[in-house]
């Protein structure tokens, strides 16, 4: 599942993918836009700067021609450059304003509006109007893609397709949070919310994602891929086209995310059936998608108490981010990825505190740097629970409730905030284990000890100690993934401390991992030989 032995050529492969994504060798294109910049830098509501006008015309041409390659650079680079130049604090011109430039092409205008609203959500504060219109725009877009006669003849870059799904869910999340914060709402807002239950409803979001999956038959394709069957046949008419295939695939990741936000972790992981988590998977083609996938998979594992699996997921993706950091720093998504990386370090700290495991050296040093003190506090003492809570609060996704608050009740009626709900359950779980690190550290010092004596050291009575010992035993066993689908696993021992109780005496044994010389030497010998052979060839 995780191909951990990254050789140099693997890194080159990753770098190639990434540099393609942030292709910036298009200075000539940019010059084209800037060449005829009008003198006024502040566009009025009707006047569009020439640079922007040319951009839109070029953009439109790329969409018409299905020129995915140029479209990618337009989308990734030029749009952001122009945003930074002209539209840092104000929205792009409305679709109606640019409509004459593109001959009122509705499809293009729908795509344009997607970017328009995304910009508003990112840089400005969306109003109720914006939320509704954006929702309707997404409905139009998905309607067009899903319900036209036959598959549509449109090609968009993968990055954009992922961003569409990602933003769709993000706006849904944003709306749910807005809806549930009732305290400062005016009567007008209340009635708007009450009269429009279908706007950003949970059902419609799920409907879109499931429909994309069904239309593209991505599940059948993945199954055929896994079993070596005929993928083309499994794909059907829609699924064979990259637009549908990728939207279907990204919808799976989208559902993974939505189910986590609703608190259904088992179903979230079930969505990932037949997807293997290695770097050849389709989600690795778009970095943001790659990071998001691992974040939610790791989070779901953690909530299902599969700490060992969560640690592995987080470690894998954090290594990936670290290794490819220098290639990402130019991308506009760098901040988002860095933030997610930070959150994952926090979650990793929680998991390591609950299930001590050896980590990869570079990850371990980063973790110590960021959360060393937190780790220390979580394993001893009285502040442990509050540290757990603080880290969880920082790193967890913003949960949503499926139906939101009952708008017909007054705000003083009890409404369980989904965030509070999840945190409370998690902390209750952790509080049952809070003594374990101290217990473990004492036990590592002895091979056998009477219960009474140990209880005295720990300042508790013998009965309580016996309970903690039984809890420790139970927590030393977890479901751990070894092969197959993401949800599967075997119960294995995950702790290096073994003990047993013989009446009132504890017998303890620690298992050690021998140093792995052979693996390291073998790898480096092979590498050395390769280098020598290369040098000899060149000589």
């Amino acid at each position: 599942m995780y191909q951990d032995t990254f050789e140099d050529d693997d890194l080159i492969a990753e770098v190639e993918l990434v540099t393609q994504d942030s292709f910036t060798e298009n200075n000539d294109l940019d010059d084209g836009f800037e060449a005829e910049v009008s003198l006024s830098a502040q566009p009025s509501s009707v006047q569009i700067p020439d640079g922007v006008r040319n951009f839109i015309l070029y953009f439109y041409r790329c969409v018409l021609e299905n020129n995915v390659y140029d479209l990618h650079s337009v989308y990734d680079n030029s749009f952001n450059k122009l945003t930074n130049k002209y539209y840092q604090k104000q929205p792009w011109p409305e679709a109606e304003v640019i409509a004459p430039l593109v001959k009122d092409d509705q499809v293009f205008l729908t795509l344009y509006r997607e970017l328009y609203y995304r910009h508003i959500y990112a840089r400005l504060q969306p109003t109720w109007e914006h939320r509704v219109r954006s929702y309707e725009n997404y409905c139009d877009l998905f309607n067009y893609i899903l319900n036209s006669d036959g598959p549509v003849n449109l090609e968009l870059p993968n990055q954009w397709l992922w961003d569409i799904i990602d933003e769709f869910i993000f706006q849904f999340q944003s709306f749910s949070n807005y809806r549930d914060r009732l305290r400062n709402k005016s009567e007008e807002e209340w009635s708007l919310l009450r009269d429009n239950p279908q706007i950003w409803s949970c059902y419609s979001v799920l409907n879109v994602l499931y429909s994309l999956i069904q239309k593209s038959r991505i599940k059948e394709q993945l199954l055929a891929n896994k079993n070596g069957g005929d993928v083309a046949e499994a794909a059907g008419e829609y699924g064979a086209r990259p637009l549908y295939k990728m939207l279907g695939y990204f919808s799976i990741i989208g559902l993974l995310r939505v189910h986590c936000l609703l608190g259904d972790y088992m179903l979230a992981l079930k969505m990932m059936d037949n997807i293997v988590l290695n770097k050849k998977a389709m989600f690795a083609r778009v970095t943001a998608c790659h990071v998001t996938t691992f974040y939610y998979v790791g989070f779901a594992y953690m909530m299902m108490r599969r700490y060992a699996d969560a640690i592995k997921a987080f470690s894998t993706v954090l290594s990936f981010i670290q290794r490819t950091k220098q290639y990402h720093s130019r991308s506009y998504q760098f901040d988002q990825i860095a933030k997610k990386g930070d959150q994952m370090y926090a979650l990793l700290a929680i998991c390591v505190a609950l299930c001590p495991t050896r980590l990869d050296e570079s990850i371990h040093s980063q973790l110590r740097e960021k959360y060393g003190e937190h780790l220390f506090k979580m394993q001893k003492g009285d502040e442990a629970l509050s540290v757990f809570e603080e880290l969880f609060h920082y790193a967890c996704p913003k949960f949503i409730s499926a139906t939101g608050v009952n708008l017909n009740k007054s705000p003083s009626d009890a409404f369980i905030d989904p965030n509070q709900n999840q945190i409370k359950i998690f902390i209750a779980d952790v509080s049952n284990q809070i003594m374990l690190p101290t217990l473990r550290s004492f036990m590592k010092l002895y091979t056998s000890m009477g219960i009474d004596k140990l209880a005295m050291f720990l300042d508790m009575d013998a009965e309580e100690l016996k309970m903690h010992l039984m809890v420790l035993k139970q927590k030393s066993r977890q479901l751990k993934w070894s092969n197959g689908d993401v949800l599967e696993g075997d119960y294995v021992a995950t702790s290096d401390l073994n003990f047993c109780l013989k009446q009132d005496v504890v017998h303890i044994a620690e298992s050690k991992v021998g140093r792995r010389y052979a693996d390291w030497f073998l790898r480096n010998i092979n590498r050395c030989e390769d280098i020598v052979a290369e040098l000899e060839q060149k000589a």
Binding site: D264, T403, V471, K473, L479, N498, C500, L522, I525
Partner: protein, 218 residues
């Protein structure tokens, strides 16, 4: 982690597809839960599907169904099933809170207190729908004891299991433990053995062939 004995195909199809969101299927799933309660089987995914439908249709939520699902998931400890169910609940009725108290006691391995609380009639009533609840809990406790002890005094075991006399002796025999005086001896298994293990590398000859090949060329 489908902890299921035998899931009928109709239920499998239901929870695999989008039909799981159709509130009209609630009856089917609730009837299946009823079956589980009567026959002692257990199907986590189907029960989670019920809770999810309740999440989306709070007006259809039935407290006694939620309580039965939670009671069933108590028998699956140390699996996190109970918590997975709690995550999906958007309301806490008194029944749920009481079951949560029981769950915490079990998770803390505080078995003596668990039985004391359980024998209070309000608590017992919550799990009355689930056939074989007490047996299942006893099995769970026995598992934990088997994992962590090689020998344990009989009075302690009686306290943990809330069994005495003949019922106790019968239980011991079923678990294949043996009683010597007032100590219960548990056979050695892989969990309750305190053996020091050194995890060493296992290098196979094939992995060395390349290196040996290089040395040949020198």
């Amino acid at each position: 982690m489908a902890s299921v004995t035998e899931r009928p195909e109709s239920i499998q199809k239901l929870i695999d597809g989008v039909e799981r969101y159709n509130p009209e299927n609630l009856e089917v799933l609730e009837a299946y839960l009823d079956n589980q309660c009567k026959n002692g089987t257990y199907d986590l995914m189907a029960n989670l599907a019920i809770l999810k439908l309740y999440q989306f249709n709070p007006t259809k939520a039935k407290d006694n169904v939620v309580v039965s699902i939670l009671a069933k998931s108590l028998t699956a400890i140390p699996s996190p099933d109970f918590n997975l169910c709690l995550y999906l609940l958007s309301e806490r009725s008194t029944g749920v809170t009481q079951l949560t108290t029981l769950q915490q006691l079990l998770e803390q391995s505080n078995y003596a207190k668990f039985w004391t609380l359980y024998n209070d009639s309000t608590y017992k009533q919550l799990t009355s729908q689930v056939a074989g609840f007490e047996d299942a809990i006893r099995q769970l406790i026995a598992r934990v004891i088997t994992m962590s002890h090689q020998s344990i005094s009989a009075s302690v075991v009686q306290k943990y299991l809330a069994l005495t006399g003949d019922a106790f002796t019968k239980f011991i025999q079923e678990q294949q433990w043996s009683q010597q005086g007032d100590v219960v001896v548990i056979p050695v298994n892989k969990d309750n053995e305190a053996k020091a293990i050194v995890v060493r590398e296992n290098i196979k000859f094939e992995q060395l062939t390349k290196v040996i090949g290089y040395s040949n060329e020198m």
